[in-house]
């Protein structure tokens, strides 16, 4: 088993403890090597995922390259969204948060974008300063996660959001990415802080 799988398991336990993932929802994926995406199974208690439980998926095609020995497991429904973010943003890892703070931050967005400003923590996002008005996209939720792919691809291509390392999904949570798993964890900490700050400030900044 690769160290990368151990790391994902550790981060899943950590995210569970923070409340970003719960009720078997949410997760994290990362590249094991170029083109090979480690994907957790769907519908399982994420804090209990073991290194041998991951699927390896082809980033380009979505084909399952390796499956866990436990044949009852199916790959996470987030796969297509994770792959879109990896391909269009060069991300090496993507966190899928089910945090309440992410849901409530999206509630503050009147339309398809959330503007965050006046917070030092913005500097935790590459290329963003604490003087910026940082925009992240907010997309509508869909019945199934694969149906989100079109909207996700569209906002990833939208020039307004070139600095964003997160996409909010209304009533649902957020996708947050980075160059690798540690970087995605850093950005997840930053964005959840920003979400909580916006909520505490009542949407006024």
């Amino acid at each position: 088993m690769s160290d990368q799988r151990d790391l994902l398991c550790e981060l899943l336990r950590r995210f569970y403890d923070t409340g970003w993932i719960s009720g078997t929802g949410g997760g994290i994926c990362s590249l094991e090597s170029t083109g090979r995406l480690l994907l957790a199974p769907t519908g399982v208690h994420k804090e209990l995922v073991r290194p041998e439980d991951f699927f390896v998926v082809d980033v380009g095609t979505g084909d399952v390259l390796e499956a866990p020995a436990d044949t009852t497991l199916r790959p996470s429904e987030c796969g297509a969204i994770f792959r879109a973010i990896v391909k269009r943003r060069g991300a090496g890892a993507v966190v899928h948060s089910h945090a309440l703070s992410a849901v409530l931050a999206c509630d503050l967005a009147p339309a398809d974008e959330l503007a965050i400003e006046h917070l030092e923590m913005l500097k935790g996002i590459p290329g963003v300063t604490n003087a910026d008005r940082h925009l992240i996209p907010v997309v509508a939720n869909t019945a199934r996660e694969p149906e989100l792919v079109g909207a996700v691809e569209s906002v990833l291509d939208d020039g307004r959001f070139s600095a964003a390392h997160a996409i909010g999904v209304r009533d649902h949570g957020a996708y947050i990415w980075g160059a690798d798993a540690w970087d995605a964890k850093k950005h997840a900490e930053v964005y959840h802080f920003l979400f909580e700050a916006m909520r505490a400030r009542g949407g006024h900044t």
Copy 2:
């Protein structure tokens, strides 16, 4: 001692850490085998319960089939409610939450039902989609827990609540169930998230 008892002890510690059970209140029961319900003792620090402390109760009759060696222990008062849920819903495990979020969610219910909608997390409940308006029953509190049995049986039979895997008890908490202990833990995570989201949204969805 069965693995099931170890699991219940682990979940009791976990629920204590999350604040769902405290002050010796709240708990979890589960079937050890068909018809045999594992029940924690009443009035003890639930995070300290050991595998040998459980009672085994007949699901049909409520009779104590096995008692712990410690004769000072008495079975949890929730027994009759747990048995009603096991019998009428085919549940294998029931969580009794004393979480503040459960109490506050019940405060939001004007009458005998709580309507939850516009949240992805609803998909964590079997048969429920994120487009549904999910109804759970809210019953009035009583002086003693066994007196709740009639109201609990009544709402379990109420067609409005056929998808519900939880019953709110006003000023008190909630009963949340699943096919087994892990499934009940999953549903407990889902419903507590929903309770907190409703509270944060001020009851508006």
Copy 3:
């Protein structure tokens, strides 16, 4: 070293983790044997207190019967208050909470009493039912803790508060007691839940 000292150290760590004690403030005392009260030192990080750090104080006179080997330590200023509660209520242990929820609950009391009702958790206090309007005294804060003794003795003798196992101190926190350390821990969990519930309900019950 007695098991009782180990238990107090464990509870101090637990209370620190919950935020009931912090910044070296707050604590717990308990009887080691009849008339001999174990008292932590003042001004130390309570989560780091070791079994050999406790003072033993005479409940009747307040005299130090045993002092720790570390001569830089001085006994907690709460000693006189703890002794008053032990003597007048027959308590075996007293928690001194510096929790924010205790401070905010006192803010809800217009005069010298806090009325708590409509909460199942009230049943965690001996002799109290969930139909009761449970009164706990709220005293004004003073410059030094020993100056609180008079007010504490007065409310302990006040018939309105015969069922109370807690005294709120405005802007400061609360004293919460029980028959022994485990019982005091249980009551501390119950009262902090009640404080948080009252706050969340905006003082309306």
Copy 4:
């Protein structure tokens, strides 16, 4: 490696768990010996910092006296601010908090000072009583942390703030200091409690 480095690593993990530092932001420095300041690297996950990762900086000049073997590491940008506080206040350790409660407390300050009163916890700050109106300075945030030094030095010299052991930085967090690392940790607990209390009270005391 000195015990002091071990202690800083332990405190970094603790502060991370409390949410005072996250997203690689925030931290703590302390004197290893007179004139030699231990400084964590910048841009790293602070909860993972190891004893061998620290820089040793000359308090007087800011020169790096010792650098970690890992040549990819650069010293924290807080160095100049930490040194100003150590020199002007005789501090032995400084916590740099990125806690949301610190940001929100600064929001409550209409101008350049935050007044805290009516809280027992004030006694945790040397020379402050619970009857005092305790003033801490609040400075405007800047693009880079070294640009804060002028404002920090100015408020450290301001007679209004002679009792303050903390400086709030708007939209950013706070610097909190003490005689040594344990003392700074104590004051950090005290001030974060005060920040949370002010927020909960809506800025009214």
